[in-house]
C-alpha cells in the first residue's frame, strides 16, 4: 500500500512552497511535487517580490534569500512613439530594512525558498507531473503522477499547479480560460554590468528601480511593459491579454522586439547581452474568474486560483498569502480530524476576508472596462504626451492660453461628452 501523507502540494512556486513550508513547520507530513527539474526552473514573473507577505512566512528573509536589488524607485511611463510622460516615486526609506520590495530572479529565488521547505521537513520531488486527482466518494484522496507506481495519498491535496491548473479543470473547479482572462507575457533577461545599470538608472549600490510602461509599449493594446533592474541584468518584458493579441494579430516576440528598439527604451538596454527568453500566461481575469477554491480534501492556491491583481502587478505576494492561509486551514483540519469541505472552506473564508479578494473585488471590472474601451491606452496616452509637450515647450504663448489650447484639443479629439464619460468609466473601474 502506497504511503499516505498529511498533505500533498502540487507545485513548487511561491503559493505551493508557502503552503508546504507552513504545513511542515506545524509538524505535518508533507509531500511536494514539482514538474520542473528544480523549483523555479519553469516559473516566470516580471521580477518584483513584495516583502510583506514573504516576511510573514520567513521573517527577515532578505538576510539570506537570493534577492537582486531592493526597489527604491518605481517609475510609470505613459509612452508614445517618440516621447513619454513619466512620473514615479523614489524613496531612500525603501533602501533600508525592512524594505518594500525586491527584484528577484525566480529560478534562484524559488529554489532557495523550496530548500527552506525541505529543511523544515517537506519531502520535495522534482521532475514529476501530477496528472490526476484521485477521487473516491466525492473526496480527493491523493494524486496520480506520471511515474510508475505513481499514486500517492494524503488527507488534503493542495493545487498550486499554476495558471493553467490542469487538476483544477479536471475537478471541474474552473473551465478553460477565455482569451480575455489571461495575459501572455514575454520577457528577456539582459545581462548588463552593474556600473552601466547604476549609471543608466541613476542608482547607487544595492538600489533597484522598476519602470511600468503603458501606451506604445503594447502598441496601445491592453497590457503593460516593464523594465526591472537586477544586480547585473535587466528584466524587460511586455504582456497583453491574449484576446488583444489575437484581435490585433500581434506576435508576442514581435512586440518585445518593438519595445526593445523603442527610442525611449533602447538606450537603457543597449550593449546588453540577452541571457534568457521567457514566456508565461498570467491569470488576469480577476475577481470574476476566481474558481472554486475548496472542496472535500482539496484546496486551490496562487495562480491556480487566479489570484493576481493585474492593475498593481501583484501576484506572487497573493500566492504566498493564499498558500499560508491554506496551510493554516489544513493545520486546523488536522486538529479536528476532518478534511471535508465543511472544515476546508475555512480557507475560502480567510481568503475572502483578506486583502486578496478585497483587492480583486475593487478592480473586478477594471480589465473588462479597459478591454472594451481601448481608447484609454490607444488614444489618451498619445494625447497626454502631446499635452505635456505643448505645456513644456516655451514658445511665447502664455501658460493660460496653453492650458486652454490643450483642453480644446482634448475635447475636440474625443468630444467633451465622451471624454467625461471615459473619465467616469475609468474612475468607476478602479474606485
Amino acid at each position: 500500500m502506497p504511503e499516505k501523507f498529511d498533505v500533498i502540494v502540487v507545485g513548487a512556486g511561491p503559493a505551493g512552497t508557502s503552503c508546504a513550508y507552513t504545513c511542515a513547520k506545524n509538524g505535518l507530513k508533507v509531500l511536494q511535487i514539482e514538474r520542473g527539474e528544480y523549483p523555479g526552473s519553469k516559473n516566470v514573473m516580471g521580477g518584483v517580490l513584495y516583502r510583506k507577505q514573504m516576511e510573514e512566512i520567513i521573517p527577515e528573509f532578505w538576510k539570506e534569500a537570493p534577492l537582486e536589488r531592493p526597489v527604491i524607485e518605481q517609475r510609470i511611463w505613459m509612452m508614445d512613439k517618440e516621447s513619454t510622460v513619466s512620473f514615479g516615486y523614489k524613496g531612500l526609506e525603501w533602501a533600508q530594512e525592512p524594505y518594500n520590495n525586491f527584484t528577484v530572479l525566480r529560478a534562484k529565488f524559488d529554489q532557495w525558498f523550496a530548500k527552506k521547505g525541505v529543511e523544515a521537513g517537506v519531502l520535495l520531488i522534482n521532475e514529476t507531473v501530477a496528472n490526476q486527482c484521485i477521487v473516491e466518494n466525492g473526496k480527493v484522496i491523493g494524486i496520480r503522477t506520471d511515474r510508475p507506481d505513481g499514486e500517492v495519498y494524503a488527507d488534503v491535496t493542495v493545487l498550486a499547479d499554476g495558471v493553467n491548473s490542469l487538476l483544477g479543470k479536471q475537478l471541474g473547479f474552473h473551465k478553460e480560460f477565455r482569451p480575455d482572462e489571461v495575459a501572455l507575457t514575454v520577457m528577456e533577461v539582459i545581462n548588463l554590468s552593474k556600473d552601466k545599470i547604476n549609471e543608466r538608472f541613476n542608482l547607487s549600490e544595492n538600489q533597484g528601480c522598476t519602470i511600468e510602461i503603458f501606451g506604445d509599449s503594447t502598441k496601445g493594446n491592453l497590457g503593460t511593459a516593464f523594465i526591472y533592474t537586477n544586480k547585473e541584468s535587466i528584466n524587460i518584458g511586455v504582456g497583453t491579454t491574449l484576446s488583444s493579441m489575437i484581435k490585433s494579430r500581434m506576435k508576442p516576440y514581435d512586440l518585445l522586439d518593438y519595445l526593445k528598439t523603442h527610442p525611449m527604451v533602447k538606450p537603457l538596454i543597449e550593449g546588453g547581452e540577452a541571457a534568457e527568453y521567457l514566456a508565461h500566461l498570467i491569470p488576469e481575469g480577476g475577481y470574476h474568474s476566481v474558481p472554486k477554491v475548496a472542496g472535500n480534501g482539496v484546496l486551490v492556491v496562487g495562480d491556480a486560483a487566479q489570484l493576481v491583481n493585474a492593475i498593481h502587478r501583484e501576484g506572487s505576494n497573493m500566492a504566498m498569502a493564499s498558500g499560508k492561509m491554506a496551510a493554516e486551514t489544513i493545520v486546523e483540519a488536522k486538529k479536528k480530524g476532518d478534511f471535508s469541505m465543511d472544515t476546508l472552506k475555512g480557507y475560502k473564508d480567510k481568503l475572502y476576508n483578506s486583502f486578496i479578494i478585497k483587492d480583486l473585488k475593487k478592480y473586478k471590472d477594471a480589465t473588462h472596462t479597459f478591454e472594451n474601451n481601448p481608447q484609454f491606452l490607444r488614444d489618451y496616452v498619445p494625447m497626454l504626451n502631446r499635452a505635456a509637450s505643448k505645456f513644456f515647450t516655451v514658445d511665447g504663448t502664455s501658460k493660460k492660453d496653453k492650458q486652454k489650447e490643450i483642453m480644446k484639443t482634448m475635447t475636440s479629439e474625443r468630444g467633451t461628452i465622451k471624454l467625461i464619460k471615459d473619465v467616469y468609466k475609468a474612475w468607476k473601474a478602479v474606485k
Partner: protein, 271 residues
C-alpha cells in the same frame, strides 16, 4: 549479490562556460549533476539486481553537496550510498582518487562483501577513464572497460559474461566475480524512476565518512599530495572561423537562408 557503483558529481559540461583568463571551467556557470555514464552504471546495477537479486550500494568522493548525486542514484535504484568527504581528499587526480575509493571499498566490503563494482566509462569533466581501472588494480580484481551489455551473470558459478565495445565491433568476455566493469551509454536507457524510489531518495541520507573513518590509509597518497599529475598547459580550442550571422525579423532571416540555399544549390542537391 552486492554491487557497488562508483559515482561522481560533475558540472554539466553541456552548458558550462570557460573562464577566458585562466582557461579553467567556471564551475558556478553550470549545475552539478550525476556523471551521465555513472547514471548508466547505476541503471546497469538495477538491471542486474532485477535479474539476479541482491543489493546496490553507491560510493562517491566529493564535497558534502555530492549527497545530491547519491540521492539521484537512489532514485534510479540504489539501496544505499556512501560519501567520502574530507579536506584531505581535495585536489586528487585519478591516482589519488582511485586510492581513496579503494580504501572506502575495503571498509564497505568488510560490512557487506562486494561481488561486483561498476563505474561509468569516464567522467565528462575529465574524460580520463582511469579511476575505474585504477580501483580494480588496487583491489587486485579484473577490470573490463567499455561494457555495452551484461549478457550473463551466474551467482553459483560466480561467472560474468559481458560484451565490450572495441573499435571494430565488440568482444565477448567471461570473467569471475569479484570484478569491475566500466560501462558505455549504450548499455541501457535510464528508466523513469518509480514514485516509491523518488520518495525514498528524497528522504535518504547517505553514510558519510571522513579519512579517519577509513582503515590503513597512507595520507601521503591522498589529495593533492598523492597526485603526481601536472597540468602543463590549458587552452580552449579556437572557435571555428567563417560562418554568417543572419539578422532581422524571423521571416527576413528565413528569406536570407533560403537565398543562400538557392545560390548554392549544387552544395545541397542530392545528385
Amino acid at each position: 549479490m552486492h554491487i557497488v557503483v562508483c559515482v561522481k558529481q560533475v558540472p554539466d559540461t553541456k552548458i558550462i562556460k570557460i573562464n577566458p583568463k585562466t582557461n579553467t571551467l567556471d564551475r558556478r556557470s553550470a549545475p552539478a549533476i550525476l556523471n551521465p555514464y555513472d547514471a548508466h552504471a547505476v541503471q546497469a546495477a538495477a538491471g542486474i539486481k532485477e535479474a539476479a537479486g541482491g543489493e546496490i550500494s553507491v560510493l562517491s568522493m566529493g564535497p558534502p553537496q555530492a549527497v545530491e548525486i547519491i540521492k539521484k542514484s537512489v532514485e534510479i535504484g540504489a539501496d544505499r550510498g556512501y560519501l567520502i568527504t574530507d579536506r584531505a581528499f581535495a585536489g586528487a587526480d585519478t591516482l589519488a582518487t582511485s586510492y581513496a575509493l579503494s580504501k572506502a571499498l575495503d571498509r564497505i566490503s568488510k560490512e557487506h562483501p562486494i561481488d561486483l563494482i561498476i563505474c561509468g566509462k569516464h567522467a565528462i569533466d575529465g574524460d580520463t577513464g582511469q579511476v575505474g581501472p585504477g580501483i580494480a588494480r588496487r583491489l587486485d580484481i579484473p577490470p573490463i572497460t567499455n561494457v555495452i551489455e551484461v549478457t550473463d551473470i551466474n551467482k553459483e558459478t560466480r561467472k560474468v559474461k559481458v560484451k565490450r565495445k572495441i573499435i571494430n565491433g565488440y568482444e565477448l568476455i567471461e570473467t569471475e566475480m569479484p570484478c569491475l566493469l566500466t560501462v558505455e551509454k549504450e548499455i541501457n536507457e535510464i528508466a523513469y524512476s518509480p514514485m516509491p524510489n523518488m520518495i525514498k531518495a528524497a528522504r535518504y541520507n547517505p553514510v558519510i565518512w571522513a579519512v579517519s573513518d577509513l582503515e590503513d590509509v597512507d595520507k601521503t597518497q591522498l589529495g593533492l599530495k598523492g597526485s603526481p599529475t601536472i597540468v602543463g598547459k590549458m587552452f580552449t580550442p579556437p572557435k571555428p572561423e567563417g560562418g554568417h550571422m543572419f539578422e532581422g525579423a524571423a521571416e527576413d532571416q528565413v528569406k536570407q537562408v533560403i537565398d543562400v540555399l538557392l545560390q548554392n544549390k549544387e552544395l545541397f542537391s542530392v545528385n
